[in-house]
Symmetry: C2
Subunit: 303 residues, 2 copies
Protein backbone atom coordinates (compact mmCIF):
# COMPACT_ATOMS: atom_id res chain seq x y z
CA UNK A 1 0.00 0.00 0.00
CA UNK A 2 2.86 2.39 0.79
CA UNK A 3 4.40 1.84 -2.66
CA UNK A 4 1.07 2.64 -4.28
CA UNK A 5 0.66 5.85 -2.26
CA UNK A 6 4.23 6.94 -3.04
CA UNK A 7 3.71 6.17 -6.72
CA UNK A 8 0.61 8.35 -6.82
CA UNK A 9 2.33 11.18 -4.96
CA UNK A 10 5.15 10.97 -7.54
CA UNK A 11 2.73 10.92 -10.49
CA UNK A 12 0.84 13.96 -9.29
CA UNK A 13 3.98 15.68 -8.01
CA UNK A 14 1.96 16.41 -4.89
CA UNK A 15 2.61 15.15 -1.35
CA UNK A 16 -0.63 16.59 0.02
CA UNK A 17 -4.16 15.36 0.50
CA UNK A 18 -7.53 16.97 0.99
CA UNK A 19 -9.64 16.18 4.03
CA UNK A 20 -13.32 15.62 3.35
CA UNK A 21 -14.10 16.54 6.95
CA UNK A 22 -17.29 18.10 5.73
CA UNK A 23 -19.41 20.06 8.21
CA UNK A 24 -22.53 22.10 7.51
CA UNK A 25 -20.61 25.31 8.28
CA UNK A 26 -18.29 24.65 5.33
CA UNK A 27 -21.05 24.10 2.77
CA UNK A 28 -22.63 27.05 0.89
CA UNK A 29 -25.97 27.86 2.47
CA UNK A 30 -27.59 27.78 -0.98
CA UNK A 31 -26.58 24.14 -1.51
CA UNK A 32 -28.05 23.18 1.86
CA UNK A 33 -31.28 25.03 1.01
CA UNK A 34 -31.57 23.18 -2.32
CA UNK A 35 -31.97 19.95 -0.39
CA UNK A 36 -34.29 21.25 2.33
CA UNK A 37 -37.85 19.98 2.22
CA UNK A 38 -37.07 17.30 -0.35
CA UNK A 39 -37.90 14.29 1.79
CA UNK A 40 -39.16 15.53 5.16
CA UNK A 41 -36.24 14.08 7.17
CA UNK A 42 -33.87 16.92 8.09
CA UNK A 43 -31.03 14.46 8.71
CA UNK A 44 -31.46 12.88 5.29
CA UNK A 45 -31.70 16.28 3.59
CA UNK A 46 -28.56 17.53 5.34
CA UNK A 47 -26.67 14.42 4.36
CA UNK A 48 -27.78 14.75 0.76
CA UNK A 49 -26.28 18.24 0.72
CA UNK A 50 -23.06 16.95 2.29
CA UNK A 51 -22.77 14.12 -0.23
CA UNK A 52 -23.45 16.45 -3.16
CA UNK A 53 -20.78 18.81 -1.81
CA UNK A 54 -18.27 15.97 -1.41
CA UNK A 55 -18.87 14.63 -4.90
CA UNK A 56 -18.35 18.05 -6.44
CA UNK A 57 -15.14 18.60 -4.45
CA UNK A 58 -13.89 15.17 -5.53
CA UNK A 59 -14.53 16.05 -9.19
CA UNK A 60 -12.48 19.21 -8.86
CA UNK A 61 -9.50 17.80 -6.96
CA UNK A 62 -9.23 14.28 -8.33
CA UNK A 63 -6.43 15.15 -10.75
CA UNK A 64 -4.65 17.36 -8.20
CA UNK A 65 -4.17 15.14 -5.14
CA UNK A 66 -3.26 11.46 -4.77
CA UNK A 67 -5.67 10.81 -1.91
CA UNK A 68 -8.41 12.13 0.31
CA UNK A 69 -8.70 11.74 4.07
CA UNK A 70 -12.22 11.46 5.45
CA UNK A 71 -12.92 12.26 9.11
CA UNK A 72 -15.62 9.80 10.15
CA UNK A 73 -16.70 11.89 13.19
CA UNK A 74 -18.22 14.53 10.90
CA UNK A 75 -20.52 11.80 9.54
CA UNK A 76 -20.96 9.77 12.72
CA UNK A 77 -22.61 12.77 14.39
CA UNK A 78 -25.64 12.07 12.16
CA UNK A 79 -25.99 8.47 13.36
CA UNK A 80 -26.25 5.50 10.99
CA UNK A 81 -27.42 7.69 8.15
CA UNK A 82 -24.23 9.72 8.47
CA UNK A 83 -22.15 6.55 8.40
CA UNK A 84 -23.92 5.60 5.16
CA UNK A 85 -22.88 8.98 3.71
CA UNK A 86 -19.32 8.32 4.89
CA UNK A 87 -19.35 5.03 2.98
CA UNK A 88 -20.92 6.66 -0.09
CA UNK A 89 -18.21 9.34 -0.03
CA UNK A 90 -15.52 6.64 0.08
CA UNK A 91 -17.21 4.83 -2.81
CA UNK A 92 -17.25 7.97 -4.91
CA UNK A 93 -13.63 8.92 -4.15
CA UNK A 94 -12.47 5.41 -5.08
CA UNK A 95 -14.53 5.41 -8.28
CA UNK A 96 -12.86 8.70 -9.21
CA UNK A 97 -9.44 7.11 -8.81
CA UNK A 98 -8.44 8.56 -5.44
CA UNK A 99 -6.91 6.67 -2.55
CA UNK A 100 -8.86 6.97 0.69
CA UNK A 101 -7.58 7.40 4.24
CA UNK A 102 -10.37 6.71 6.72
CA UNK A 103 -9.62 8.97 9.68
CA UNK A 104 -11.30 6.79 12.28
CA UNK A 105 -8.68 6.65 15.10
CA UNK A 106 -10.05 3.36 16.39
CA UNK A 107 -8.18 1.24 18.93
CA UNK A 108 -9.17 -1.45 21.43
CA UNK A 109 -8.25 -4.88 22.82
CA UNK A 110 -7.55 -7.53 20.19
CA UNK A 111 -11.00 -9.15 19.90
CA UNK A 112 -12.56 -5.71 19.44
CA UNK A 113 -9.76 -4.47 17.16
CA UNK A 114 -10.48 -7.56 15.05
CA UNK A 115 -14.01 -6.23 14.49
CA UNK A 116 -12.72 -2.72 13.74
CA UNK A 117 -10.22 -4.17 11.28
CA UNK A 118 -13.18 -4.87 8.98
CA UNK A 119 -12.50 -1.30 7.81
CA UNK A 120 -9.47 -2.80 6.03
CA UNK A 121 -10.35 -6.44 5.52
CA UNK A 122 -14.12 -6.51 5.16
CA UNK A 123 -16.19 -9.28 6.73
CA UNK A 124 -17.00 -12.83 5.77
CA UNK A 125 -20.66 -13.91 5.88
CA UNK A 126 -21.91 -17.27 4.56
CA UNK A 127 -18.38 -17.87 3.18
CA UNK A 128 -18.62 -14.65 1.16
CA UNK A 129 -16.06 -11.90 1.66
CA UNK A 130 -17.67 -8.46 1.66
CA UNK A 131 -15.71 -5.22 1.61
CA UNK A 132 -18.15 -2.76 3.13
CA UNK A 133 -15.85 0.10 4.07
CA UNK A 134 -13.21 0.12 1.33
CA UNK A 135 -10.69 2.47 2.97
CA UNK A 136 -7.12 1.97 1.71
CA UNK A 137 -5.66 3.33 4.93
CA UNK A 138 -7.08 4.04 8.36
CA UNK A 139 -5.77 6.02 11.32
CA UNK A 140 -5.50 4.09 14.59
CA UNK A 141 -4.88 4.91 18.27
CA UNK A 142 -1.97 2.92 19.76
CA UNK A 143 -2.91 3.14 23.45
CA UNK A 144 -3.60 -0.62 23.71
CA UNK A 145 -0.14 -1.59 22.47
CA UNK A 146 0.93 -4.45 20.18
CA UNK A 147 -1.87 -6.98 20.75
CA UNK A 148 -4.46 -4.30 20.03
CA UNK A 149 -2.59 -3.44 16.83
CA UNK A 150 -2.14 -7.01 15.57
CA UNK A 151 -5.56 -7.40 13.87
CA UNK A 152 -4.93 -4.18 11.92
CA UNK A 153 -1.37 -5.21 11.01
CA UNK A 154 -2.66 -8.61 9.90
CA UNK A 155 -5.14 -6.97 7.50
CA UNK A 156 -2.35 -4.79 6.11
CA UNK A 157 -0.50 -7.99 5.21
CA UNK A 158 -3.44 -10.01 3.87
CA UNK A 159 -5.31 -7.21 2.14
CA UNK A 160 -2.51 -4.87 1.10
CA UNK A 161 -3.74 -1.98 3.26
CA UNK A 162 -2.03 0.66 5.39
CA UNK A 163 -2.22 2.36 8.78
CA UNK A 164 -1.36 5.75 10.18
CA UNK A 165 -0.75 5.37 13.91
CA UNK A 166 -1.19 8.39 16.20
CA UNK A 167 2.26 9.36 17.44
CA UNK A 168 2.32 13.13 18.01
CA UNK A 169 -0.95 14.97 17.60
CA UNK A 170 -1.37 18.56 16.44
CA UNK A 171 -3.48 19.91 19.33
CA UNK A 172 -1.96 21.91 22.23
CA UNK A 173 -2.98 19.47 25.00
CA UNK A 174 -1.52 16.47 23.20
CA UNK A 175 1.66 17.07 25.19
CA UNK A 176 -0.01 16.27 28.53
CA UNK A 177 0.43 12.57 27.80
CA UNK A 178 2.49 12.36 24.62
CA UNK A 179 5.40 14.49 25.88
CA UNK A 180 5.82 12.80 29.27
CA UNK A 181 9.47 11.87 29.70
CA UNK A 182 10.15 8.18 30.38
CA UNK A 183 13.84 7.51 30.91
CA UNK A 184 15.54 9.19 27.95
CA UNK A 185 12.49 9.21 25.69
CA UNK A 186 9.18 10.95 25.50
CA UNK A 187 6.03 8.82 25.28
CA UNK A 188 5.53 9.70 21.62
CA UNK A 189 9.09 8.64 20.85
CA UNK A 190 8.48 5.26 22.49
CA UNK A 191 5.38 4.92 20.32
CA UNK A 192 7.47 5.98 17.33
CA UNK A 193 9.83 3.07 18.03
CA UNK A 194 6.87 0.69 18.28
CA UNK A 195 5.55 1.95 14.95
CA UNK A 196 8.92 1.32 13.32
CA UNK A 197 8.85 -2.23 14.72
CA UNK A 198 5.25 -2.88 13.67
CA UNK A 199 6.09 -1.72 10.16
CA UNK A 200 9.19 -3.85 9.71
CA UNK A 201 7.45 -6.73 7.86
CA UNK A 202 5.49 -4.24 5.78
CA UNK A 203 8.28 -2.28 4.14
CA UNK A 204 8.00 -1.48 0.46
CA UNK A 205 10.51 -0.91 -2.29
CA UNK A 206 11.41 2.64 -1.23
CA UNK A 207 12.23 1.69 2.35
CA UNK A 208 9.02 3.05 3.84
CA UNK A 209 6.44 0.75 5.41
CA UNK A 210 2.65 0.54 5.24
CA UNK A 211 2.55 1.42 8.94
CA UNK A 212 2.75 5.19 8.90
CA UNK A 213 2.42 7.74 11.67
CA UNK A 214 0.30 10.79 12.36
CA UNK A 215 2.70 13.58 13.31
CA UNK A 216 1.18 17.01 13.96
CA UNK A 217 2.28 20.04 11.96
CA UNK A 218 2.64 22.68 14.70
CA UNK A 219 5.72 20.81 15.96
CA UNK A 220 8.40 21.03 13.22
CA UNK A 221 11.31 20.47 15.60
CA UNK A 222 9.70 17.29 16.87
CA UNK A 223 9.00 16.37 13.25
CA UNK A 224 12.70 16.58 12.47
CA UNK A 225 13.63 14.38 15.43
CA UNK A 226 10.99 11.80 14.51
CA UNK A 227 11.97 11.90 10.82
CA UNK A 228 15.45 10.83 11.94
CA UNK A 229 14.39 8.21 14.48
CA UNK A 230 11.66 6.72 12.26
CA UNK A 231 13.46 6.30 8.94
CA UNK A 232 11.01 3.70 7.60
CA UNK A 233 7.80 5.39 8.69
CA UNK A 234 5.77 7.54 6.34
CA UNK A 235 4.19 10.57 8.04
CA UNK A 236 0.65 11.86 7.72
CA UNK A 237 0.89 15.51 8.80
CA UNK A 238 -2.42 17.14 9.72
CA UNK A 239 -2.89 20.71 10.75
CA UNK A 240 -1.79 22.52 7.58
CA UNK A 241 -3.59 25.85 7.39
CA UNK A 242 -6.50 25.87 9.83
CA UNK A 243 -4.53 24.28 12.66
CA UNK A 244 -1.56 26.61 12.36
CA UNK A 245 1.19 24.71 10.51
CA UNK A 246 2.42 25.68 7.07
CA UNK A 247 5.23 26.77 4.75
CA UNK A 248 8.85 26.05 5.43
CA UNK A 249 8.17 24.42 8.80
CA UNK A 250 6.72 21.44 6.92
CA UNK A 251 10.08 20.63 5.38
CA UNK A 252 11.26 18.87 8.55
CA UNK A 253 8.70 16.09 8.03
CA UNK A 254 10.24 15.04 4.71
CA UNK A 255 13.46 13.15 4.05
CA UNK A 256 16.35 14.61 2.02
CA UNK A 257 14.80 13.32 -1.20
CA UNK A 258 11.58 15.22 -0.42
CA UNK A 259 9.74 11.99 0.34
CA UNK A 260 8.38 10.33 3.46
CA UNK A 261 5.40 12.52 4.28
CA UNK A 262 2.02 13.64 3.08
CA UNK A 263 0.50 16.91 4.29
CA UNK A 264 -3.19 17.25 4.91
CA UNK A 265 -5.66 20.11 4.94
CA UNK A 266 -9.45 20.05 5.22
CA UNK A 267 -11.10 23.31 6.26
CA UNK A 268 -8.72 25.50 4.25
CA UNK A 269 -9.68 23.66 1.06
CA UNK A 270 -13.36 22.89 1.62
CA UNK A 271 -14.15 26.37 2.90
CA UNK A 272 -12.06 28.26 0.29
CA UNK A 273 -15.20 29.53 -1.45
CA UNK A 274 -16.33 31.44 1.63
CA UNK A 275 -13.28 33.68 1.96
CA UNK A 276 -12.61 34.48 -1.69
CA UNK A 277 -14.97 37.01 -3.27
CA UNK A 278 -14.06 35.94 -6.82
CA UNK A 279 -16.28 32.92 -6.41
CA UNK A 280 -20.07 32.72 -6.27
CA UNK A 281 -21.54 30.01 -4.09
CA UNK A 282 -21.82 27.27 -6.70
CA UNK A 283 -18.16 27.64 -7.61
CA UNK A 284 -17.05 26.00 -4.36
CA UNK A 285 -15.45 23.21 -6.41
CA UNK A 286 -13.28 25.66 -8.37
CA UNK A 287 -12.35 27.45 -5.15
CA UNK A 288 -11.33 24.16 -3.52
CA UNK A 289 -9.30 23.20 -6.56
CA UNK A 290 -7.43 26.49 -6.51
CA UNK A 291 -6.79 26.16 -2.76
CA UNK A 292 -5.54 22.59 -3.28
CA UNK A 293 -3.20 23.80 -6.05
CA UNK A 294 -1.95 26.59 -3.77
CA UNK A 295 -1.26 24.06 -1.00
CA UNK A 296 0.64 21.88 -3.47
CA UNK A 297 2.75 24.87 -4.58
CA UNK A 298 3.41 25.99 -1.01
CA UNK A 299 4.42 22.53 0.20
CA UNK A 300 6.55 21.54 -2.81
CA UNK A 301 8.33 24.91 -2.91
CA UNK A 302 10.62 23.91 -0.05
CA UNK A 303 11.28 20.28 -1.00
CA UNK B 1 -25.31 10.85 35.85
CA UNK B 2 -23.04 9.22 38.44
CA UNK B 3 -25.72 9.58 41.15
CA UNK B 4 -28.26 7.92 38.87
CA UNK B 5 -25.91 5.00 38.13
CA UNK B 6 -25.09 4.54 41.82
CA UNK B 7 -28.77 4.71 42.73
CA UNK B 8 -29.57 1.95 40.25
CA UNK B 9 -26.67 -0.19 41.45
CA UNK B 10 -28.00 0.23 44.98
CA UNK B 11 -31.58 -0.60 43.99
CA UNK B 12 -30.58 -3.78 42.20
CA UNK B 13 -27.91 -4.65 44.75
CA UNK B 14 -25.69 -5.35 41.79
CA UNK B 15 -22.50 -3.51 40.80
CA UNK B 16 -22.15 -5.37 37.49
CA UNK B 17 -23.25 -4.84 33.93
CA UNK B 18 -23.74 -7.04 30.89
CA UNK B 19 -21.92 -6.28 27.65
CA UNK B 20 -24.02 -6.57 24.51
CA UNK B 21 -20.85 -7.13 22.49
CA UNK B 22 -22.82 -9.47 20.29
CA UNK B 23 -20.97 -11.46 17.64
CA UNK B 24 -22.34 -14.17 15.36
CA UNK B 25 -20.28 -16.78 17.24
CA UNK B 26 -22.23 -16.07 20.43
CA UNK B 27 -25.68 -16.46 18.88
CA UNK B 28 -27.38 -19.87 18.60
CA UNK B 29 -27.02 -21.15 15.03
CA UNK B 30 -30.76 -21.84 14.94
CA UNK B 31 -31.60 -18.19 15.57
CA UNK B 32 -29.30 -17.11 12.76
CA UNK B 33 -30.89 -19.66 10.43
CA UNK B 34 -34.38 -18.37 11.26
CA UNK B 35 -33.43 -15.07 9.69
CA UNK B 36 -31.57 -16.44 6.68
CA UNK B 37 -33.25 -15.93 3.31
CA UNK B 38 -35.84 -13.53 4.70
CA UNK B 39 -34.82 -10.47 2.68
CA UNK B 40 -31.99 -11.46 0.35
CA UNK B 41 -29.37 -9.22 1.98
CA UNK B 42 -27.08 -11.36 4.15
CA UNK B 43 -25.95 -8.31 6.16
CA UNK B 44 -29.55 -7.33 6.93
CA UNK B 45 -30.48 -10.91 7.84
CA UNK B 46 -27.47 -11.25 10.15
CA UNK B 47 -28.29 -7.98 11.84
CA UNK B 48 -31.92 -9.01 12.32
CA UNK B 49 -30.67 -12.10 14.16
CA UNK B 50 -28.31 -9.98 16.28
CA UNK B 51 -31.06 -7.51 17.17
CA UNK B 52 -33.51 -10.32 18.04
CA UNK B 53 -30.81 -11.88 20.23
CA UNK B 54 -30.08 -8.55 21.97
CA UNK B 55 -33.76 -7.85 22.64
CA UNK B 56 -34.26 -11.28 24.19
CA UNK B 57 -31.16 -10.88 26.37
CA UNK B 58 -32.37 -7.45 27.49
CA UNK B 59 -35.76 -8.92 28.49
CA UNK B 60 -34.05 -11.53 30.65
CA UNK B 61 -31.51 -9.31 32.39
CA UNK B 62 -33.38 -6.01 32.72
CA UNK B 63 -34.35 -6.61 36.35
CA UNK B 64 -30.93 -8.06 37.24
CA UNK B 65 -28.42 -5.39 36.15
CA UNK B 66 -28.51 -1.58 36.33
CA UNK B 67 -26.93 -1.06 32.92
CA UNK B 68 -25.67 -2.60 29.71
CA UNK B 69 -22.46 -1.75 27.89
CA UNK B 70 -22.56 -2.02 24.11
CA UNK B 71 -19.34 -2.45 22.11
CA UNK B 72 -19.90 -0.49 18.91
CA UNK B 73 -17.13 -2.31 17.00
CA UNK B 74 -19.21 -5.48 16.90
CA UNK B 75 -21.85 -3.50 14.99
CA UNK B 76 -19.56 -1.19 13.03
CA UNK B 77 -18.04 -4.21 11.29
CA UNK B 78 -21.32 -4.44 9.33
CA UNK B 79 -21.10 -0.86 8.05
CA UNK B 80 -23.94 1.65 8.37
CA UNK B 81 -26.52 -1.10 8.73
CA UNK B 82 -24.63 -2.37 11.76
CA UNK B 83 -24.56 1.11 13.27
CA UNK B 84 -28.34 1.24 12.83
CA UNK B 85 -28.59 -2.02 14.80
CA UNK B 86 -26.34 -0.51 17.47
CA UNK B 87 -28.74 2.43 17.76
CA UNK B 88 -31.76 0.11 17.79
CA UNK B 89 -30.17 -1.92 20.59
CA UNK B 90 -29.62 1.25 22.62
CA UNK B 91 -33.25 2.27 22.00
CA UNK B 92 -34.51 -1.08 23.22
CA UNK B 93 -32.30 -1.14 26.33
CA UNK B 94 -33.43 2.37 27.29
CA UNK B 95 -37.09 1.50 26.71
CA UNK B 96 -36.64 -1.46 29.03
CA UNK B 97 -35.33 0.82 31.75
CA UNK B 98 -31.61 0.07 31.52
CA UNK B 99 -28.80 2.62 31.48
CA UNK B 100 -26.53 2.36 28.46
CA UNK B 101 -22.76 2.69 28.26
CA UNK B 102 -21.68 3.13 24.64
CA UNK B 103 -18.27 1.49 24.44
CA UNK B 104 -16.96 3.62 21.59
CA UNK B 105 -13.49 4.66 22.81
CA UNK B 106 -13.47 7.76 20.61
CA UNK B 107 -10.93 10.53 21.00
CA UNK B 108 -9.58 13.29 18.74
CA UNK B 109 -8.67 16.99 18.57
CA UNK B 110 -11.33 19.33 19.89
CA UNK B 111 -13.20 20.17 16.65
CA UNK B 112 -13.50 16.45 15.89
CA UNK B 113 -14.28 15.51 19.49
CA UNK B 114 -17.08 18.07 19.28
CA UNK B 115 -18.62 15.98 16.48
CA UNK B 116 -18.10 12.74 18.43
CA UNK B 117 -19.71 14.34 21.47
CA UNK B 118 -23.04 14.09 19.62
CA UNK B 119 -23.12 10.62 21.20
CA UNK B 120 -23.90 12.45 24.45
CA UNK B 121 -25.43 15.73 23.37
CA UNK B 122 -27.17 14.99 20.07
CA UNK B 123 -27.08 17.47 17.21
CA UNK B 124 -28.97 20.61 16.38
CA UNK B 125 -30.46 20.94 12.88
CA UNK B 126 -32.78 23.77 11.81
CA UNK B 127 -32.86 24.87 15.48
CA UNK B 128 -34.13 21.43 16.51
CA UNK B 129 -32.18 19.35 19.01
CA UNK B 130 -32.06 15.70 18.01
CA UNK B 131 -30.73 12.96 20.22
CA UNK B 132 -29.74 10.24 17.75
CA UNK B 133 -27.45 8.06 19.85
CA UNK B 134 -28.95 8.21 23.33
CA UNK B 135 -26.06 6.67 25.28
CA UNK B 136 -25.99 7.71 28.97
CA UNK B 137 -22.25 7.11 29.17
CA UNK B 138 -19.52 6.60 26.61
CA UNK B 139 -15.96 5.36 26.88
CA UNK B 140 -13.28 7.73 25.55
CA UNK B 141 -9.56 7.56 24.75
CA UNK B 142 -7.53 10.28 26.54
CA UNK B 143 -4.48 10.36 24.22
CA UNK B 144 -5.27 13.90 22.99
CA UNK B 145 -5.32 15.40 26.49
CA UNK B 146 -7.57 18.07 27.99
CA UNK B 147 -8.60 20.03 24.89
CA UNK B 148 -9.69 16.81 23.18
CA UNK B 149 -11.71 15.93 26.29
CA UNK B 150 -13.40 19.31 26.71
CA UNK B 151 -16.30 18.76 24.25
CA UNK B 152 -17.18 15.51 26.03
CA UNK B 153 -16.89 17.11 29.49
CA UNK B 154 -19.06 19.99 28.30
CA UNK B 155 -21.81 17.55 27.23
CA UNK B 156 -21.61 15.84 30.61
CA UNK B 157 -22.41 19.18 32.22
CA UNK B 158 -25.10 20.39 29.81
CA UNK B 159 -26.80 17.04 29.18
CA UNK B 160 -26.23 15.20 32.46
CA UNK B 161 -24.14 12.45 30.87
CA UNK B 162 -21.04 10.51 31.91
CA UNK B 163 -17.68 9.28 30.62
CA UNK B 164 -15.41 6.36 31.30
CA UNK B 165 -11.88 7.36 30.30
CA UNK B 166 -9.36 4.65 29.39
CA UNK B 167 -6.76 4.56 32.15
CA UNK B 168 -5.45 1.01 32.49
CA UNK B 169 -6.67 -1.49 29.91
CA UNK B 170 -7.14 -5.22 30.50
CA UNK B 171 -5.03 -6.56 27.60
CA UNK B 172 -1.44 -7.80 28.09
CA UNK B 173 0.21 -5.28 25.74
CA UNK B 174 -1.50 -2.32 27.37
CA UNK B 175 1.61 -1.99 29.54
CA UNK B 176 3.86 -1.09 26.58
CA UNK B 177 2.61 2.48 26.76
CA UNK B 178 0.44 2.68 29.89
CA UNK B 179 3.11 1.36 32.30
CA UNK B 180 5.97 3.56 31.10
CA UNK B 181 7.55 5.26 34.10
CA UNK B 182 7.66 9.07 33.94
CA UNK B 183 9.36 10.53 36.99
CA UNK B 184 7.67 8.86 39.94
CA UNK B 185 4.49 7.92 38.09
CA UNK B 186 3.43 5.53 35.40
CA UNK B 187 1.64 6.93 32.36
CA UNK B 188 -1.68 5.47 33.49
CA UNK B 189 -1.28 7.12 36.90
CA UNK B 190 -0.70 10.49 35.22
CA UNK B 191 -3.88 9.90 33.24
CA UNK B 192 -5.61 8.89 36.47
CA UNK B 193 -4.70 12.29 37.95
CA UNK B 194 -6.04 14.02 34.84
CA UNK B 195 -9.30 12.09 35.15
CA UNK B 196 -9.66 13.19 38.79
CA UNK B 197 -9.13 16.78 37.67
CA UNK B 198 -11.55 16.55 34.73
CA UNK B 199 -14.19 15.12 37.05
CA UNK B 200 -13.88 17.74 39.76
CA UNK B 201 -16.80 19.96 38.54
CA UNK B 202 -18.90 16.86 37.93
CA UNK B 203 -18.96 15.30 41.39
CA UNK B 204 -22.22 13.96 42.70
CA UNK B 205 -23.67 13.56 46.15
CA UNK B 206 -21.66 10.43 47.03
CA UNK B 207 -18.31 12.02 46.21
CA UNK B 208 -17.86 10.23 42.89
CA UNK B 209 -17.85 12.16 39.61
CA UNK B 210 -19.46 11.57 36.22
CA UNK B 211 -15.97 11.20 34.75
CA UNK B 212 -15.17 7.56 35.45
CA UNK B 213 -12.23 5.40 34.40
CA UNK B 214 -11.80 2.10 32.60
CA UNK B 215 -9.48 0.02 34.78
CA UNK B 216 -8.76 -3.53 33.61
CA UNK B 217 -9.56 -6.52 35.83
CA UNK B 218 -6.41 -8.64 35.41
CA UNK B 219 -4.51 -6.04 37.45
CA UNK B 220 -5.94 -6.06 41.00
CA UNK B 221 -2.82 -4.62 42.63
CA UNK B 222 -2.91 -1.69 40.21
CA UNK B 223 -6.64 -1.43 40.90
CA UNK B 224 -5.94 -0.98 44.61
CA UNK B 225 -3.35 1.73 43.96
CA UNK B 226 -5.67 3.58 41.59
CA UNK B 227 -8.64 3.19 43.96
CA UNK B 228 -6.56 5.08 46.51
CA UNK B 229 -5.19 7.77 44.19
CA UNK B 230 -8.52 8.35 42.41
CA UNK B 231 -10.93 8.68 45.32
CA UNK B 232 -13.60 10.52 43.28
CA UNK B 233 -13.45 8.36 40.16
CA UNK B 234 -15.90 5.56 39.54
CA UNK B 235 -14.32 2.52 37.85
CA UNK B 236 -15.65 0.50 34.94
CA UNK B 237 -13.84 -2.82 35.21
CA UNK B 238 -13.92 -4.96 32.06
CA UNK B 239 -12.41 -8.39 31.71
CA UNK B 240 -14.50 -10.34 34.20
CA UNK B 241 -14.70 -13.96 33.10
CA UNK B 242 -13.55 -14.26 29.48
CA UNK B 243 -10.56 -11.95 29.95
CA UNK B 244 -9.30 -13.63 33.09
CA UNK B 245 -10.36 -11.47 36.06
CA UNK B 246 -12.83 -12.60 38.70
CA UNK B 247 -13.66 -13.39 42.31
CA UNK B 248 -11.84 -11.89 45.22
CA UNK B 249 -9.36 -10.01 43.03
CA UNK B 250 -12.19 -7.67 42.06
CA UNK B 251 -12.52 -6.39 45.62
CA UNK B 252 -9.58 -4.02 45.18
CA UNK B 253 -11.55 -1.91 42.70
CA UNK B 254 -14.21 -1.01 45.28
CA UNK B 255 -14.00 1.37 48.21
CA UNK B 256 -14.47 0.29 51.83
CA UNK B 257 -18.23 0.78 51.56
CA UNK B 258 -18.33 -1.61 48.58
CA UNK B 259 -18.97 1.25 46.15
CA UNK B 260 -16.97 2.99 43.45
CA UNK B 261 -16.88 0.38 40.71
CA UNK B 262 -19.00 -1.57 38.27
CA UNK B 263 -17.80 -4.88 36.85
CA UNK B 264 -18.53 -5.87 33.30
CA UNK B 265 -18.83 -9.17 31.43
CA UNK B 266 -19.98 -9.83 27.87
CA UNK B 267 -18.98 -13.18 26.40
CA UNK B 268 -19.48 -15.10 29.65
CA UNK B 269 -23.12 -13.94 29.81
CA UNK B 270 -24.14 -13.86 26.15
CA UNK B 271 -22.56 -17.23 25.38
CA UNK B 272 -23.76 -18.97 28.57
CA UNK B 273 -26.25 -21.11 26.60
CA UNK B 274 -23.49 -22.77 24.60
CA UNK B 275 -21.63 -24.28 27.55
CA UNK B 276 -24.53 -25.40 29.71
CA UNK B 277 -26.31 -28.55 28.55
CA UNK B 278 -29.41 -27.78 30.64
CA UNK B 279 -30.48 -25.25 28.04
CA UNK B 280 -31.78 -25.83 24.54
CA UNK B 281 -30.91 -23.20 21.96
CA UNK B 282 -33.93 -20.95 22.38
CA UNK B 283 -33.32 -20.69 26.13
CA UNK B 284 -30.29 -18.43 25.60
CA UNK B 285 -32.12 -15.69 27.50
CA UNK B 286 -32.61 -17.89 30.58
CA UNK B 287 -28.97 -18.99 30.38
CA UNK B 288 -27.78 -15.38 30.20
CA UNK B 289 -29.98 -14.45 33.14
CA UNK B 290 -28.58 -17.25 35.26
CA UNK B 291 -25.01 -16.29 34.29
CA UNK B 292 -25.74 -12.66 35.16
CA UNK B 293 -27.14 -13.71 38.55
CA UNK B 294 -24.04 -15.87 39.14
CA UNK B 295 -21.80 -12.90 38.33
CA UNK B 296 -23.77 -10.72 40.74
CA UNK B 297 -23.39 -13.33 43.48
CA UNK B 298 -19.68 -13.82 42.82
CA UNK B 299 -18.92 -10.10 42.79
CA UNK B 300 -21.07 -9.11 45.80
CA UNK B 301 -19.82 -12.02 47.90
CA UNK B 302 -16.59 -10.20 48.71
CA UNK B 303 -17.95 -6.68 49.20
Amino acid sequence: MIDELMKRIEEKGNPTMVGLDTTLELIPRELVQQHQGTCGDPIEETLQAILAFNKEIIQYIKDVVPAVKIQVAMYEQYGWQGIRTYQETIDDAKKQGLMVVGDIKRGDISSTAEAYSSHLGGITLNHMEMDLWKEDWITVNPYFGTDGMNPFLQKCRTHGKGLFVLVKTSNPSGKEIQDLVCGNQKVYEVIGDLVEKWGMPLRGRYGYSSVGAVVGAPHPEQGAILRKSMPHTFFLVPGYGAQGGGGISLKSYFDKAGKGAVIHSARGILGAHSHDKRYVWNQFGEAAREAALAMKKEVTRYL
